[in-house]
Symmetry: C2
Subunit: 294 residues, 2 copies
Amino acid sequence: MKLFGGIEAGGTKFVCAIGDETGKILSEVTLPTHTPEETLPAVIKFFQESEYAKKITAFGIGSFGPIDCNVNSLKYGYITSTPKKDWINCDIVGAIKDAFKKPVGFATDVATAALGEYAWGEGQNLDHLVYMTIGTGIGAASVINGELLHGAGHQEIGHMLIPQDKKLDPFEGICPYHHNCFEGLASGVAIKKRWSLESALYLPNHHKAWDIEADYIAAGLMNIILNLSPNKIILGGGVMRQTHLFAKIRERVVKKINGYVQLENMDTFIVPPGLSDRSGVVGAIALAKKTLEK
Amino acid sequence: MKLFGGIEAGGTKFVCAIGDETGKILSEVTLPTHTPEETLPAVIKFFQESEYAKKITAFGIGSFGPIDCNVNSLKYGYITSTPKKDWINCDIVGAIKDAFKKPVGFATDVATAALGEYAWGEGQNLDHLVYMTIGTGIGAASVINGELLHGAGHQEIGHMLIPQDKKLDPFEGICPYHHNCFEGLASGVAIKKRWSLESALYLPNHHKAWDIEADYIAAGLMNIILNLSPNKIILGGGVMRQTHLFAKIRERVVKKINGYVQLENMDTFIVPPGLSDRSGVVGAIALAKKTLEK
């Protein structure tokens, strides 16, 4: 059986794994994200010293960003203008290619998670999938007919404009670009700032914060449904660990769309990740597999 | 050279044309939309009696709707729950297939127009395109990597939720499903109702109605850009005959997105249809050609 190397490159940690064609992980390590000069050699060492090293046929990297994943670009494979200064203009794909001389797939962290869910999570046997993470920020990626949706750039759904009723919620929003866009109103950072919290987790389930939150998420999902018409929407990320939100969101999506388009069974249409918090690393294996197939 | 039959099936008229592989129209007729029993035989007769009849290799139909264009559905090829009662459950694809025994492509009117622009209009040599019509209603379709974007259903971008500043515009919106969704605020019908007009054309260019309109369209376009990242957005339909709107919309899209994603040159990014009001019928030829190629 062919093996694959997967790298979930995050802002605080790198999860590196070796997996097989079924998505099963055979070996895994988590490394702290220091500078590229420290972290990348440690990543390479993990794969090189593995007992499976010689069987790895391709790599997949799901990276924090912004990244350049336009294969026609001179800076393809680079992390670009990230706030993490040490990583600006880091040629992460080049580093892995140089070390192993194997095909390397490259995508955003959220796109990789979407691929993982499509291959071995909640998206199995479906054609069209949206994966959204609602945590510090809001990001999303879509699989349409089995392929990651990618236009001139990647999806930036988190910054969509959605309605805000300032009488119910006078909060000004936290997005430095758009103030009260979707992420500006509904990200974890927005919840904390709106309610002056140390952590969003301290709010009880019946707090009206969650009604407001569910309403914004439902508005965002309505716009996504009307743009992309997915078979399923997977919601991950820190905010969605508040699992009581799912019922509130489903109810509000139905109410907002109001019968205009036919919706699937809501309990299986808007769901948590099938791979729990493993979508990213398993997705990196899926990305590697997809890269080899091409 | 292969020839194709194109049918732009509209609520008031059917435009039928015979075109070649370059999109050139060789013969064309416009027929009024009466009942299916009257109109469809007239459509068939036009093609049958044409001097080009025997050279037609495939047909394309771009239809008013709602339609069923899911090829796995029992009612594939039907106009379904249209307000035009005579056409409910009309098997329009079946009628053309029965008459000519040739492949028949089927899509919404707006999807067909998008294909026309992609093949022979403003979308030539591009990978990703959004075509939007802003008239009585608002509809849109997208071509991504050369294929019409189609998820579980087709795009219904006109009903996206967008922000409304009720101090600037207290209008309640005209959408029977969502009141103040994009179409509810920005369609031609909404403009007429907001300003109690017989026709939107009676408003002078400097009227604030157009600032409000441009602002809503820019909000809708921002959401589309963040969802789909197209290379170009084509705006057609009756409202966009107010060509002074283009400059206002471009300016507001730039201001709203505020540098968050890199935008192309706005003068070539948001444009009127390259095929003018011919996108639909030329698109039906493009759809026929695409259907034959498959």
